[in-house]
Structures are given as structure tokens and as C-alpha cells.
């Protein structure tokens, strides 16, 4: 592990500005107004407890693999993210260093993970916070594992195919619980899972496939982003118009009662006169 981390350090020592673009959907998100962004951090490098620094400032101490932070409010801008083996920062040699752009208004997740060939790296993903139609859920899958291309299946049916590290795939599916697994692309060879996923309506469930195939520690981590629900498009609660007639029928009823009463009164008055004679 140590040699690999050292090698990786060289590989990623050059700061790379990530091509993170604030998509139209992300910038349209109402909550993250102004010049700030909501940023969560996921540690997906197995076997390495770390300290995370943004520049010289310690962002997350004692960060353990498989941990996802709560969203933090950060000013938009460029951050020099350095990840040190626990206790070695901030003046030692970082295990991972990368310049990351945090776009204004975005909801993003920084993921420290392995590349397909097992080197530690860091990527920033912008989470899709756009509205989701009523009754649906958004499912996002991110391949951040040292593993080849995979297919992602829900209840046995492939939903995303040929996903490679460090790409993501996403789509809108019916809300509900699904049994998800990850198979080697184009095969039925299960690499991870199956795992039960509760895809709640109006939420974006982000699933990370992480770990290392070689070390046999591939696993899933999920992140839930909420608040993208929409109202249904209507309530079609009437079919025949009978109720409208029913509710408007009061005057008719009143009229007929009036007519019957008037006729009866007239008839009785006539009878009354005759009997009086």
C-alpha cells in the first residue's frame, strides 16, 4: 500500500484544475445562492486514514476510508486540496494533491479514490440538484474503484452500461426500493452486491463503487441528496360531471318543490271554497 501511495503521489503531484462545470441545473439550484457552494467529501481510498487540507487549512482531520462528510458551505473558487497520511501534514508530502474548482452555486462532492489501475487520486463531481418529476427518483452511479468497466443493474436489469473509472452515469427511475448490483461490463459476473437501495421520491441517490478489485474490497457507498421533488401535474378527481349537476341541482329541487306546493295550495283553496258553499 505504502509504495503504491508514494508512486501515486508523484503521479498526481502536478496540480490539475478539474474540468468541473457548473451545469445549468446546478446553478439554477435555489438554495446555494450567491458565491458559495455546498461541498461534501468522500474518502474512498481503502486502508489509509488521512487528514484533508485546503491550502494550509485543515478541512477534515482523521478521515477514515468509507466516510462521507456532511455538506460544508464553501466559498466558490479554486482550492489546493492536499490529502496527507494521518499526522503528516501540512508540511510533509501529500498522498494526493489536486487543485479543485468549486463553482458558485454548485452542490459538489470531492472524492478521494483509486484510479482504475489503483493509484490514489481526487475528483470533484457536481451533483445534479435539478427538479425531478413527481413519483420519480434520480439515480447517479460513480465508478471510483480500481476495477475495469462495469454495468450497474437494478433488480437484475442493466440500467447503466460500460461505466469506467472515473465516469458517472445518471437517470430518473421510478421511486422505490431496488436491489442493485455491479457486474463486469457485458457479463453476469457480480463484482459488488446485490445491495438494497431505497430510491426515495424527489431525491438523488448517488452510489459510489469504490475499493480495489485486486484487493477484493470492492464495495458501495451511497450519498442521498434531497429536496428536488415536484408537485404532480394534476388531480383528475372527477369523470362524469354528475357531481357538478348534483351541486348545481339545488335550485331545480327548490323550484320543483315550490311548483308542487303552489299547485297543492291552489287545489286545496278551490276545494275549500266549494266546501264553504
Amino acid at each position: 500500500m505504502n509504495t503504491r501511495v508514494a508512486g501515486a503521489t508523484v503521479a498526481v503531484a502536478i496540480a490539475v484544475t478539474l474540468s468541473v462545470t457548473a451545469g445549468a441545473s446546478a446553478s439554477a439550484q435555489p438554495r446555494a445562492a450567491g458565491d458559495q457552494a455546498m461541498v461534501s467529501v468522500l474518502h474512498a481510498v481503502p486502508g489509509l486514514t488521512v487528514d484533508v487540507y485546503a491550502g494550509d487549512k485543515e478541512l477534515i482531520p482523521d478521515f477514515k476510508p468509507g466516510t462521507l462528510t456532511d455538506p460544508m458551505k464553501l466559498d466558490a473558487g479554486s482550492y489546493d486540496i492536499k490529502i496527507f497520511k494521518e499526522g503528516e501534514g501540512p508540511n510533509g508530502t501529500p498522498a494526493i494533491e489536486k487543485k479543485v474548482d468549486v463553482p458558485a452555486g454548485a452542490n459538489a462532492t470531492l472524492v478521494a479514490h483509486l484510479t482504475a489501475d489503483g493509484k490514489p487520486t481526487l475528483d470533484a463531481y457536481v451533483n445534479d440538484m435539478s427538479k425531478i418529476p413527481a413519483g420519480k427518483a434520480r439515480l447517479t452511479v460513480r465508478h471510483v474503484a480500481a476495477a475495469p468497466a462495469v454495468d450497474v443493474r437494478a433488480n437484475g436489469t442493466p440500467v447503466f452500461k460500460d461505466l469506467v473509472n472515473p465516469k458517472e452515469a445518471k437517470g430518473e427511475v421510478a421511486a422505490g426500493t431496488v436491489s442493485a448490483d455491479v457486474v463486469l461490463a457485458g457479463t453476469d459476473t457480480v463484482a459488488i452486491g446485490p445491495a438494497k437501495l431505497n430510491l426515495a421520491e424527489g431525491t438523488n441517490t448517488v452510489v459510489y463503487a469504490w475499493g480495489s478489485a485486486a484487493d477484493k474490497n470492492l464495495q458501495l457507498k451511497t450519498q442521498s441528496l434531497t429536496g428536488m421533488h415536484s408537485a404532480p401535474s394534476g388531480v383528475p378527481a372527477g369523470e362524469t360531471g354528475a357531481a357538478a349537476a348534483h351541486n348545481e341541482g339545488v335550485p331545480l329541487g327548490a323550484l320543483s318543490l315550490g311548483a308542487v306546493s303552489a299547485l297543492t295550495a291552489a287545489g286545496l283553496l278551490v276545494r275549500l271554497r266549494r266546501t264553504a258553499r
Binding site: 418529476p133 388531480v235 360531471g241 315550490g258 306546493s261
Partner: protein, 230 residues
């Protein structure tokens, strides 16, 4: 038959007929004042954020019963969160089983086919939740099955009690705070489906006018009730 007794009978009949006349006159007057014109009998505040184009509603500013109720509502909440099993409006004699419903393929809420049943929109908060609008829908009328149980909502009054029984055996008690007639296109933005803000129960059915060549009912009737433990 002696003359006086038959005279008495005729007189009795005559007075009965006169009473009938008076009643019919009163009904007509009532119908004119609070008649079926869309929204004419609405009351109470709109259900929440969002623009609502209210359909020709004379805004009568009387005492707002909901304001006092909303204050009472701040008392410690005892109701527990659980799915609803039945809906009762005692004064209107409404009693209906509640089943959970979702969204149909066309994006609209599924309505229970049986108009004697109502549907809880499963993505709205469960009754007893601390926030948001718990939505229950039901047919006002239905093909081949006649009038729906929620046709009675037409006569709802401010302060009417509403009880929602829950699957865990609990019950949440509400009082009606508003009745709104909302154009079908404005329903989504009316706040009826908000998941934040004050906890309310929102009952939704259809309201006239019914125009067969324009898709049928033109409005939704939206009745809001606030939690009011007794």
C-alpha cells in the same frame, strides 16, 4: 264525513303546501347567495407559498378561524406519524377508507377507482408529521359508480372536524381552515404539495364547472385543515 273535519283537513293541507312554498323560496335565495359559481363559497387563507389565481372569489374578510387554530397548533404535538387508514368528517357524514396512491404514467396523482375510497398521496408527509401538507384525494364522481364520497366537501364549513385514523391505531384530529376552488393548471403551484412549512391536511377533489368539451372539470376543490387536538 262531517263538514268541519274535512275543512280542517283541507286547512292542514293548505298550511303544509304554504310551508313547502316558503322552504322552496328560502332554498332558492340560498342557492343564489352561496350557489355553485366556482369559488363563491370559498373561505380561509390560501394553503401556502406560490401564486394562486383565485377564481372570482369575493374576498369576505371575516374573523379568521385558522389564525386561532394555528396558535393552538403550537401546543406539544401528540399525534404520531403513521400512514392513514381512514378519513372521517363527522358533520358531513363522510367516512372513507384510505389507500396509498402514487403517480400515474401521465404525471397526475392516481385516484382510487372506487369513489367511496380516498387516496393518500404516498409522497406527501404521513399524518402526524411535523411539517408539510398531507394530501388526500378522492373522486367527486366516477364512471359507472356514481358520486364520490368527497362530493360532500362542497358543503364544508370553517371549523368542521376532520379525523384521520392511522395504521398504527392512532388518530390525528384537524379542523377545516380553508376551502379553495383552484383552476386545474394552478394546483401544482398552489402550495398543496409543499413538504415544508406548517403541518396541514389537504383534501383535494374536483369542482365545477364541468365542460365536457374542455376536459371535464375545470377546477379542483382544495380543503385545508390544521391539526387541532381536542
Amino acid at each position: 264525513m262531517s263538514k268541519p273535519s274535512s275543512r280542517l283537513l283541507l286547512l292542514t293541507g293548505l298550511s303544509a303546501a304554504l310551508v313547502g312554498l316558503i322552504v322552496s323560496a328560502l332554498l332558492l335565495v340560498d342557492a343564489r347567495l352561496g350557489g355553485p359559481a366556482a369559488g363563491a363559497r370559498d373561505f380561509g387563507p390560501t394553503s401556502g407559498a406560490g401564486p394562486v389565481s383565485s377564481p372570482r372569489t369575493p374576498r369576505v374578510t371575516t374573523k379568521e378561524p385558522s389564525a386561532a387554530m394555528a396558535r393552538g397548533d403550537e401546543a406539544p404535538r401528540q399525534a404520531r406519524t403513521s400512514e392513514p387508514s381512514s378519513l372521517v368528517l363527522p358533520r358531513l357524514d363522510v367516512r372513507a377508507a384510505v389507500k396509498a396512491v402514487g403517480v400515474a404514467a401521465d404525471g397526475q396523482i392516481e385516484i382510487p377507482a372506487n369513489p367511496k375510497q380516498v387516496g393518500w398521496y404516498r409522497y406527501s408527509p404521513e399524518p402526524g408529521s411535523p411539517k408539510g401538507s398531507t394530501v388526500i384525494v378522492g373522486h367527486v364522481d366516477s364512471k359507472g359508480r356514481g358520486l364520490g364520497v368527497l362530493v360532500a366537501l362542497d358543503d364544508v364549513r370553517a371549523g368542521d372536524r376532520v379525523l384521520v385514523r392511522q395504521k398504527d391505531g392512532g388518530e390525528v384530529q384537524y379542523r377545516v381552515s380553508s376551502r379553495r376552488t383552484i383552476g386545474k393548471r394552478d394546483l401544482a403551484a398552489s402550495g398543496a404539495f409543499r413538504r415544508d412549512g406548517p403541518a396541514v391536511l389537504t383534501l383535494i377533489t374536483c369542482a365545477g364547472p364541468y365542460l365536457a368539451d374542455k376536459g371535464g372539470y375545470q377546477n379542483n376543490l382544495v380543503v385545508t385543515a390544521v391539526e387541532a387536538p381536542t
